[in-house]
Amino acid sequence: MFFQQLINGITVGGSYALIALGYTMVYGILKIVNFAHGDVFMMGSFFGLYCMQGLGMPYYIAFPLACLFTAILGIVMERVAYRPIRTADSLSVMISALGVSTFLENLAMLLWGTGTHAFSSVSGIKVTTFKFQNLVLSNIQLAFIFLSIILMVVLYFIVNNTKVGVAMRATSHSITTAKLMGINTDRIITFTFGVGSALACVAGILVGVYYDAVYPLIGYSYGLKAFAAAVLGGIGSIPGAMLGGFVMGIVETLGASYISAGYRDAFAFAVMILVLIFRPTGIMGKKQIDKV
């Protein structure tokens, strides 16, 4: 029972971690909270569904294509809503993000209706379950866990070992200095939004297939909890977002199964508040020093 819930928690946590990465990367570089990121996740899920349903593609072509679409959506969003106000204070950026969020939610409702859509009817993915003594694992769950871990490892490699990664880290330390060193910071920001949105799309498709449901307002709760996960891990830190996502998923699942299912979301937030009381910059966040 306990190990079963742990595995369920890791599965859910994988999706939070993938979404949280988008929040944390954008925050690390621009110091803004992209409140529309949950809706990018939702759009990613719908793009995946549309490619299969509307365009009749098999899932192995539809899903990568959906990631590409979502990356483009993220880049366009940055160009239109964030780039013109990059120098404005963070609250204006936040309101702009809320505007984008309202826009995307209502766009999805107009395009696909307010109802819940099922993935299973169009994807053709068959669910098979494996049993190891008491543990029950589905192929979707396994794919979910492996895919999210592989993507995180790849991202970690990109950020730490490639030229783009070095440029990203430089930009997150200081945009002005990075510019002086000859880094095209605009391109790095575009790249960050693209990668973050593509990861959100992967999470969207995985959640869609796992729960077999997607609806226009799904981005709200996932976005909120993923953001909380990013803060829990220490916003701006990439390993922090991964850890935060998994902690969030596990706490939520264990809390829901052992204490009370109705308070499922409350456990995640309560743990986050408790961690922040004792460690105000999150688990892996850097301490900021005040200067006069």
Partner: protein, 331 residues
């Protein structure tokens, strides 16, 4: 709203304000449409909420994303007192302000240790937890079914039951909040809050305790949100957890920021405009929220300081003062 228009309005403040007040007083005789009057009452409620959030976010500089939780705590406290203990509306009003103020004080325990985005997310978490308690504590709140049959206010044997009566009550509560906020902001306490907002370390250096003023801002702000929550419960006679959600918190914050952070007139304008625009766009039916979202983005791109931003307001005060006193005592 351009700078010139703002200056003209401020220069004729002594005539325009009483005229506006008179207009608000005779409004129910002019607007007989019950739906429009309902919108006016909602505007009053949101002005109060925006003013209270503006105190904490605009003046004390603490970003709060869970203001709807205070609104909800006030509404549920008031409703339960009136339903279960048959307390008079005005006593319930005071009680809900006190109870919500206590919750605001409790939120200070984590909030004082954090700042910026971390504070924002903790208040957001607080808002979500509060909503989940409303949904799940079925013995008291009846969960998603909500609390129906909340009685109308009684005032010396006279029942406030008609929409016109409710409008006057809302107007009085809103004006009371407006009065308290203006007095508070222009007092030493308000000045100290603004000092804390601009620089905490500098504030400490000149003997202002940031902790004390942050607690005051949290408690006062939440108390006002709770008090209007109680009115809301009595006005609609029914409350359910669906009103006190994250979206409502965001709407209130949007009103404050679109109106202009740290500006009383801005909050009033922001709340009025943001309640009226979605109603006015109803003819666009399905497209209205789409357009509303796009409008928010455009507004922030072309006018990030809001309709009546603090920076412009300061310029205007300086101009007016310079006519009277060339040295300008105000900064």
């Amino acid at each position: 709203m351009n700078n010139k228009l703002q200056t003209v309005l401020l220069n004729h403040k002594k005539v325009l304000l009483p005229a506006l007040l008179a207009l608000l007083l005779v409004l129910p005789f002019v607007v007989t449409n019950s739906y429009l009057l309902h919108i006016c009452i909602i505007v009053c409620i949101y002005i109060t909420l925006a003013l209270s959030l503006n105190l904490i976010t605009g003046y004390a500089g603490q970003l709060v994303l869970g203001h709807a939780a205070f609104y909800g705590i006030g509404a549920y406290t008031g409703a339960l007192l009136m339903l279960k203990f048959h307390v008079n509306f005005f006593a319930a009003l005071a009680a809900s302000a006190v109870v919500t103020g206590i919750f605001g004080f409790l939120l200070c325990i984590p909030a004082l240790r954090l700042r910026g985005d971390y504070l924002a997310i903790v208040t957001l978490g607080f808002g979500e937890i509060t909503r989940l308690v409303f949904v799940n504590w079925k013995a008291v709140t009846r969960g998603p079914a909500g609390l129906p049959g909340i009685p109308a206010p009684q005032f010396f044997g006279f029942t406030i039951g008609t929409r016109v009566a409710f409008y006057y009550l809302a107007l009085v509560l809103m004006l009371f909040t407006l009065f308290v906020m203006i007095r508070l902001i222009n007092s030493g306490v308000g000045m100290a809050m603004q000092t804390v907002k601009s620089d905490e370390i500098a504030a400490e250096a000149i003997g202002i305790q940031p902790r004390k003023y942050k607690i005051m801002a949290f408690v006062i702000s939440s108390a006002f949100a709770g008090f209007i929550g109680c009115f809301f419960a009595s006005y609609l006679t029914y409350i359910s957890p669906t009103v006190f959600v994250y979206n409502t918190s965001m709407t209130i914050l949007t009103m404050v920021v679109l109106g202009g952070l740290g500006s009383v007139a801005g909050s009033v304008l922001g709340a009025t405009i943001l309640v009226i625009i979605p109603e006015a766009l109803r003819f666009l039916s399905d497209y209205r929220m789409l357009i509303f979202g796009a409008l928010m983005v455009f507004m922030m791109i072309f006018k990030p300081e809001g309709f009546w931003g603090a920076s412009k307001r300061r310029k205007n005060i300086y101009k007016i003062n310079s006519e009277v006193n060339s040295h300008g005592t105000n900064s």
